[in-house]
Amino acid sequence: MNETTSEAINLTIDGVEVTVPKGTTVLQAAERAGVVVPHYCYHPGIPSRPAQCRMCLVEIEGQPKLQPSCVLSATDGMSILTQSDTAKEARRSVIEFLLLNHPIDCPICDAAGQCMLQDYAFETHQLESRSHEAKLVLGRDRIADDILYFADRCILCTRCVRFMRDVAGDEALLVAQRGHKAYIDTFPGKDLENEFRGNIVDVCPVGALVHEDFLFKPRSWDMDSAPSVCPGCSNGCNIDIAVKENQIVRVKPRYNADVNGFWMCDHGRKHLVMANRGSRIDLPLIRRHGELEAVHWGEALEWLSTNLPEGGSGHAVVSAFDATESLAAVRALLGRIGIEGGGYRLSRGHEAELGGFPQLKLRAERAPNAAGAELFGFGETDGLPEVSDGDTLVVVGDRLADAPADYGEGAGFFLYIGSHLSDAARNATAILPATTFAEMEGTFVNHEGRVQRFHQALVPPGVARPTWMILRRLLGLGHGEVTMLEARDAFAVAASESGRLAGLNWDEVGLKGVNPGGTAAPVAK
């Protein structure tokens, strides 16, 4: 890694003047000048820079020999040419060499459309090869339980090997053989079991490493993508959710220097692809004459505002998977009907830290927003509250998947707001269809108190709505008709009701999140 200092130097890249701190590499300086120098082996998140792909060779004006810009330190007065004939010819020939033994199977390759080899091959207009030789076939290999390696597509940039060694701190991959017969492999008798191994697929600039979950499924141009936050644990890794036909097909980490760098863990990836499963509630249901009956939203909310008992003994169960805005709205509702306290259940698991980026840790608390729940006075509970006959029970977000089938049967009134219909949820007096986090906008507060926004990735089923929207509407009935349609408004209200988030601005939270400071409400260990 080049160490940068505060001393500034000036250089020109393709005639564009740029000022950078001393110690900056030419490749980084070019980025500042708005010039992308094509590269494969260099990755900003991987410390080692072998300069071996030879793709980022640039011409230093006045010097005959091309230099790799990924390791070349920018010096004062330097003039760099990335588009000179020599530099372009060098890049063209690298692509020609890479394609010599490449199967050119873009039509069935998962990386097509997002492949740096494909992009540059087109950019250098190499649609025909000069080679008359037979291609070397190396085949493919299962390099981990869930990752396949297509050796013939591999350009041996060694990003995967170096991610495992430099970042994951688990030297599980190696280059086997040498020369044009070289390929990536695991060590004999050792499997790639690291919990951050999914990142090797992300760093692969071509289609050599492929997640089996994703294999042969969507074409990259058929996918939509939304910036989001991983709900797998309380770390709050920034992610992009890729969607095809309203299904989550892939999750990739989204760069955030303060939270997860370029990375995320495999637990998070798997967790999210699982989010497609389960039977969803897509209409409001209210119990009349002992039977659940589907009604439209207006009727359901009118009915609730009339029938939801106020006062008396009551219990509330919320979920640390819900957005901060929703949790704030639940607290407001509970206040209205006179229920105090309330809690959330939290499952815990083992922890795993990414050695080369310790801020990123699969954390024991396997929910994204326990800190957000704490902000609104919800505490962690071990189990579900005992419900005595006649009590009011409000369950929001918790799927009650593990609750006994008769749970809540004796309640005087049982309001269930959630996305999935479990056996216990069927005992409710009223069931309101809520979205999952992927179907709405909102914020999570991570383990260190950082507030991060997630965007809507999926269209909700039926008439499901975000919990905050449902509850703010319900609370508004007969009280001035507050209609809240935007998450930014719900956030503003939630922030003002929370204390710690007061004054935070939705736009300021932006895509990277902010930590408003102060002490994050501690989550019990």
Binding site: P50, Q52, V94, L100, V175
Partner: protein
Amino acid sequence: MGYPHSHELEVGTILSRHFGDPKARDLNTWLTYGGYEGLKKALEMEPAEITTVVKDSGLRGRGGAGFPTGLKWTFMPQEQKGPHYLCCNADESEPGAFKDREILRWVPHLLIEGCLVAARAIHAEHVYIYVRGEYFPFTNILNDAVVQAYEAGYIGENILGSGWNCDLTVHIGAGAYIAGEETGLMSSLSGGRAEPRIKPPFPAQSGVFGSPTTVNNVETLAAVPMIVVNGSDWYRQWGTEKSPGTKLWCCSGNLERPGNYELELGVSLKDVIYEVCGGAPNGKKIKAVIPGGSSTALLTADELDVPSTYEGLQEAGSSLGTASPIVLDEDVNIVRAMRRIADFYAHESCGQCVQCREGTSWVAQILRRIEVGDGRLSDLDTLYDLCEQLTGRTICVLADSVVFPLRSSLDKFRGEYEALIGGRP
């Protein structure tokens, strides 16, 4: 019986005097031959004095590049902050070169002594001799000598009562040409793959185990003790101003008397081939000579009258390299010879740089196709273009190594290529 062949032009003084004499491997005999006098003298000298003598002698690196040895030593940090290391490069893998092998197997103590003198000059506390895996039998000879030298106090703690400590380890590689490249050697020695790395940092800044390191060739180090004993002027009695001293030649191919000869630098290459080695056997004509090991540009029979110095061969468009001429007589198929060379480099490419990994094997494939009569004239253009793409674009010079012989053969023997192609476009 003399060591395989000898010739009156030989200066068998410095390196090869005891070649063919198995007794020289034994420490006690070696001492009677004047062994370890250089070390004794070096122990009385300041390290900087040793460097000065070697620098003044004009000794140049015998691994092929010909970099001035004394100058290389001055690159080591003057202020010692941690351990310094000396690596002796005995990964002699260049096709055609077999000079270090002879030093290892006949005069191991000469090498050990040279290592120790150099180690003292650069403040190294540990010497590693990195021997190519294929030299297993000769490594045993070297190991026996090392054990003897340790026991007699020439290596280890308080060497010869001087208070100076230096250890020596012999390390056997697993057999890779590229382990002979100094950064590849250091990576291999440190437990990694034999893969060259980008410089800077240079070995003198960060080498073996991240410490300042000097890498010297076997033949270079073997010349050091005599230089220290006799002084730089003595060494300069041989050779030229820019290429002083003697050089161990490895002559192979179609020769009447192939083998090792220690000759003064500057003798005509023609004399080496015809006088010393007796020319091609059976009265055949010589077609071409690859003068410095397989990675150098070949010279035709008409181009041999050049002084065999670093600068002389360079002027002739080739390189002295390791002074390992491979002689090809009139029966040799040049395309086949080039294909064989390209195959070697394709096999030995470490595979890091794209040009080298893919380019060397592509060159070999094209040459093979031409060789079997399936070539086309456009292949020659492709080969010329590949010569451009493989030059100066990679971390090390392995890719360049295939270009030198290939381009010269295309320039000088295009007719042979065209004859095999037979006019196919």
